[in-house]
Symmetry: C2
Subunit: 328 residues, 2 copies
């Protein structure tokens, strides 16, 4: 294992402390918990909590701030945070306007968030949740579509509405509408290494790629011969377009690096997308995000996310945001 | 070589087209040239031009926009743009207020920019330039300190002053003052592969690192045993601090990923910095940037940059900026 770390057991804490150190006056970390909060919590708005395993940086702590999350709770790398940690995050941001949890669709995450939410409710906290399920590659698995990079757009849009003073039902409704309109798919050309394991998550020859990966360093749904950027991108777009009716709509495109992918390659991928979408159903690209938004540590590869827009989603997508990883 | 590209010969053009496609109304690419411009050039301000070899993305095209550059000219990967291409960029943005070129200190870049500038002057264009030389590792080489990630801060600060309507001499002066106050150092744990070469730039065992790298995939000044993040960071900070008197000053810290480094590791590196600087000369961290700002394609590693601030540098560092890769 070749990494720039200290001890594998400390990566989650040190990473969050390093992020908070770069955000004085904006972010704080709860002592003895891997929970990052806005330094100045606004208790007059619905509070947004998200989280999950570490290893997806800048998700989720990088999205804490004005216009997005109020708190992010981080488990160990690729491991759900405990119900106790999630409860601590909910309790810390709780206010009479209520709390909305944004949960990615993984068995562990859903289970632990549900336990924490039940406990919080028993304490008299008003809290609800949504489950993000945007990964089309896992549609036919037992758990169903996993929650991947589309989660960042749910943070963005629900976060923007929450800042306006909307109530919990309204914020939940727009979060769910974002979820209903977002689909993603990912691929990788290298594995990644969980620090505590010390070995790569799989092996892959120089001529192969994994298609239909998630965000936990796992293999994809299929191993295929590595082809060129345009061919891979077309195949992934076709798959996404077959899962939701995008024709005639405007979309946000997110070209998301998995952590070790150079920006050069993400731009080359994006170069194919706009014309192809327009030729396939008159889909118009309203805005494009290119970067590392939801990663698998140092994995090389990318995911594509398409958010189908309506006027309201567009308005909250465009709204001001001030977090470490996303600013508008 | 394992990359998500089409043809190695097209990576520079396709990458710039992909970036421009993500920035409608903000960026344009000159047809038949790897030159990216603001879509709406403001000809009533000093125009800033930078550039160099490709492979450093998002530098430099990602920094074209309000508050930073007016044009970026890209050569082939790790190869200076031709004097002809640089001249074309200068001619395109030229206006009576003048043009300032921001050049990284490499023999090819300096030579080609100087030829282009001489030609532009012979055409009656008012144009001047500065040479960024922030890399302390190369201080004692024949060419002297190379220009590396500190260049982004020169773009930022000179770009902010240029927006105020300052004249060419003033913009050059603040660019030079930024250069005089910025130092960097880099390290790597993996090489990178130039697409047109197809093979890694060097080989390195699992237990080794290169200390004192530049940004062209080259080996560092020294090969050492890979130690832990805190130890590496301390060594690099010590080296930077020995090259400029930072004691008692406020600084901007940039923790720059080389392209393939996970955000997790950059945050772990940053976690060491603030306290260490304070204990070593009472250096106060005014702001911290963590991300991929000046890369070597997919190399894993990082560089540290410290900018020594005064009130004016601070003001222009803080000023609004709206580019693809940097927003405030």
């Amino acid at each position: 294992m070749k990494k720039i770390i200290n001890n594998a057991a400390d990566v989650e804490r040190e990473m969050l402390e390093g992020l908070v150190a770069a955000s004085p006056g904006k972010l704080v970390k709860l002592k003895n918990h891997n929970i990052v909060l806005r330094a100045n919590l606004n208790k007059n708005k619905v509070a947004l909590v998200s989280g999950g395993g570490s290893g997806h940086e800048p998700a989720h702590a990088g999205y804490v701030g004005f216009g997005m999350l109020d708190a992010a709770v981080a488990g160990s790398v690729f491991t759900s945070p405990t119900a106790g940690a999630i409860l601590k995050a909910i309790e810390t941001v709780a206010n009479p306007r209520g709390v909305l949890c944004i949960v990615k669709n993984y068995t562990g995450d859903v289970l632990n968030f549900e336990i924490a939410i039940e406990k919080a409710r028993s304490e008299g906290i008003t809290v609800d949740y949504v489950i993000v399920a945007d990964d089309v590659a896992s549609q036919s698995t037992a758990v169903g579509r996993r929650g991947v990079a589309g989660t960042v757009l749910v943070h963005k849009i629900a976060g923007a509405l929450a800042e306006t003073g909307a109530n919990l039902a309204q914020v939940k409704m727009i979060a769910q509408r974002t979820i209903d309109n977002v689909r993603s798919m990912g691929m990788a050309i290298t594995p990644c290494t969980v620090p505590a394991n010390g070995v790569p998550s799989f092996e892959l020859s120089d001529k192969e790629m994994e298609i239909g990966i998630g965000i936990h360093g796992e293999r994809g749904m299929r191993r295929e011969q590595l082809t060129n950027a345009d061919g891979i991108t077309r195949k992934m777009l076709d798959r996404i377009l077959s899962h939701l009716e995008y024709a005639g709509h405007e979309v946000v495109v997110m070209v998301n690096g998995m952590g070790g992918t150079p920006f050069m390659e993400l731009c080359i991928v994006n170069n194919f997308i706009k014309d192809y979408l327009y030729r396939n159903g008159g889909i118009e690209v309203y805005d494009t995000m290119i970067g590392n938004y939801m990663t698998s540590i140092e994995m090389a590869g990318f995911s594509l996310t398409l958010l189908r827009l309506d006027d309201e989603l567009k308005m909250y997508y465009d709204a001001a945001v001030d977090t470490f990883a996303l600013k508008k």
